[in-house]
Amino acid sequence: MRRLLGFITKEFIHIFRDLRTLIVLFGIPVTQILLFGYVITMEINDSSIAILDLSKDEVSLNLSDRLCSSGFFRQKENLNGYDDIERVLRSGKVKAVVVFGEGFGCDLITRGKASMSIIADGTEPNYATLVCNYITAIVNDFSREQNEVETGTVFLLQPEVRMFFNPELKDQFMFVPGVMAYVLIIICALMTSITITREKEFGTMEALLVSPLRAGHIIVGKVVPYMVLSFVTLVVILWVSWLVFELPIRGSLGLLIGISMLYILLGLSLGIFISTISKNMQQAIFISLMSLLLPTIILSGFIFPVENMPKAYDVASYLVPSKYYLIAIKNIMIKGLGIGYVWKETLAMCFMSAIFILLSIKNFKERLQ
């Protein structure tokens, strides 16, 4: 035990004396959160839209006025036909086109239903989503007011939203869980795999092997300091998200931290495993980045929905640790669900950690070669 403590102390000294390690541990996660956060929290203000009014009646003009006087939108152009839609969107001058169908007001009064569309520029998916949500909200307000005035008839205005250029847009871009999922695993795996291969490269591993230290001592000694510091990183990420972006945590904070620590352990054990199969630091960095960066971003469901990918990707995604973590923390943070809804993911992560730890201990050579 005293040996282990000595080893852990040594690891902490390594970390605190190396500025680069500290930057990677704390600087990168915070920067990532801030970057992603500002990309997403752009507020809509005076955004240009175009209106294609095929009916030009009282109701449609009224609604157009309402949209443009809201302060969120500015009418850039009045279109004459469907052909114009693509032209203005292509030119990039407007972010969305609102279309009122022929006989809009008439249909609304006589049938209680009318056709209306919002066509948005999907090249900036997040912005497009925001624009559509704002327009829909204004339209809903409008139809509620009309209902109150015109008693007897019930208006039902349900705009049809369509994205140009990027039809498979995700409805909600929850960046904090995504950034946590990929930042935590990459940092944990990278740091541990580097710290072990560094001992191999500097020749200190030779002396450690000839000492009475066992594989378990060395592995635990490497994991514990990074576990503690990753916990600090986790708290910092959550705190910054809450402070800057007012991120809500609807579920239990304890459960969120518990599951995150399990995920951190998974990342660390993966890093140890990588270090047992690589000869030097370069190899370790290469394997960590190659095996984690792209799969995490593509297959975890962080940015792209895996359901829409070919079957093989879907199957492969079950091997990506961050998939389980992302599902679990989304359920906890956003939906506010408890352990009853995330036990499968928790179990999957426990299983993966156990496998990597066992493989590492088995693979860790107590001799050279």
């Binding site: 403590l5 190396d18 002396a207 450690l208 000839v210 000492s211």
Partner: protein, 306 residues
């Protein structure tokens, strides 16, 4: 452990793929001696040390160290060995003091407990105890690495080329320290590519291409030199060697600093050598008989091997 023999190797072999790093090594190292392993780079010195320190396992033969088998009893053995690898195993970002404390803790002891053993060595670097190990000079790094290897009072100290890359004064000092350790009953096995250091060992083994050529005291090894040795000097060394090697009466001609060590096939030819060299255009030649050093014997042995 009344056994006098600390290391016993019987027909030990080790290969890496097709490369035979060690072949048929038979060796006995006695308690309390300083045993030197002398040979050029790539001869197998480090491999043999890694076998002794249980970092590698032999492919054939048997190797026992301190009465323990290196393959099956390696855990027990590791507690009793102090090892200083070729590249000093120091953490560059840790201070002198922290390095020493770390190795002490890892071996389950404290610096205080064994300070008497390392006092002679550590006192040289103690004034710099708060300096990061990476910022020490070669000689100080070497002393720190030795202190770290000794901190758990090992029965056997294994030093892989401890003087490589260290200045001449520090080298001499280092050998004095090793002799001092003998008083504490520590057996030392040390490798070096420097022939002059061989003389400071109690016994030496000459190793070449993975095979031991000779094991004996340094004096006995020198006395094993068979021929008569002459030192030849001239103004220009290179053309002298070329001329000597072209002469059929010359058996061997090896450069030694500013002179050339020569043995002859023909008895008494040294008398006619100046004339031969004069014909080759080499002037100011001096020839004198000398007594062979350990390097001469080593070169002689090497030439005998295929």
């Amino acid at each position: 452990m009344a056994d006098k023999v600390v290391i016993r190797a019987e027909d030990v072999g080790k290969h890496f793929g097709k490369l035979h790093a060690l072949r048929g090594i038979n060796l006995e190292v006695n308690r309390g001696e300083i045993f030197g392993l002398i040979g050029p780079d790539g001869a197998g010195k480090t491999t043999l040390f890694r076998l002794i320190t249980t970092l590698l396992t032999p492919d054939s033969g048997s190797l026992t160290v301190l009465g323990l088998d290196v393959v099956t009893q390696y855990r027990e053995l590791r507690r009793q060995i102090g090892y200083m690898p070729g590249r000093f195993s120091l953490y560059h970002d840790l201070t002198v003091e922290e390095n020493l404390n770390f190795y002490a803790t890892v071996f389950g002891t404290t610096v205080k407990e064994n300070y008497t053993l390392i006092a002679d060595i550590y006192s040289h670097i103690e004034p710099f105890r708060r300096r990061p190990a990476g910022k020490l000079s070669g000689g100080m790094k070497q002393k720190l690495a030795l202190s770290c290897a000794l901190i758990h009072r090992p029965a056997l100290l294994v030093l892989d080329e401890p003087t490589t890359g260290v200045d001449a004064v520090s080298r001499v000092e280092f050998w004095e320290l090793l002799r001092g350790l003998r008083e504490h009953g520590i057996t030392t096995v040390v490798s070096t590519p420097y022939m002059d250091e061989a003389m400071r060992c109690d016994r030496v083994a000459l190793i070449q291409s993975g095979q031991l050529l000779s094991i004996d005291t340094p004096t006995a090894i020198m006395e094993g030199f068979t021929g008569k040795l002459y030192s030849v000097r001239a103004e220009e060394n290179y053309s002298l060697i070329m001329a000597l090697r072209a002469n059929p009466h010359v058996h061997t001609a090896h450069p030694f600093g500013s002179s050339v060590h020569v043995t002859f096939n023909t008895e008494g030819y040294h008398a006619t050598l100046p004339q031969y060299l004069h014909e080759k255009g080499i002037e100011n030649v001096t020839i004198e008989p000398i007594s062979p050093g350990i390097e001469d014997r080593f070169l002689e042995l090497m030439e005998r091997e295929p």
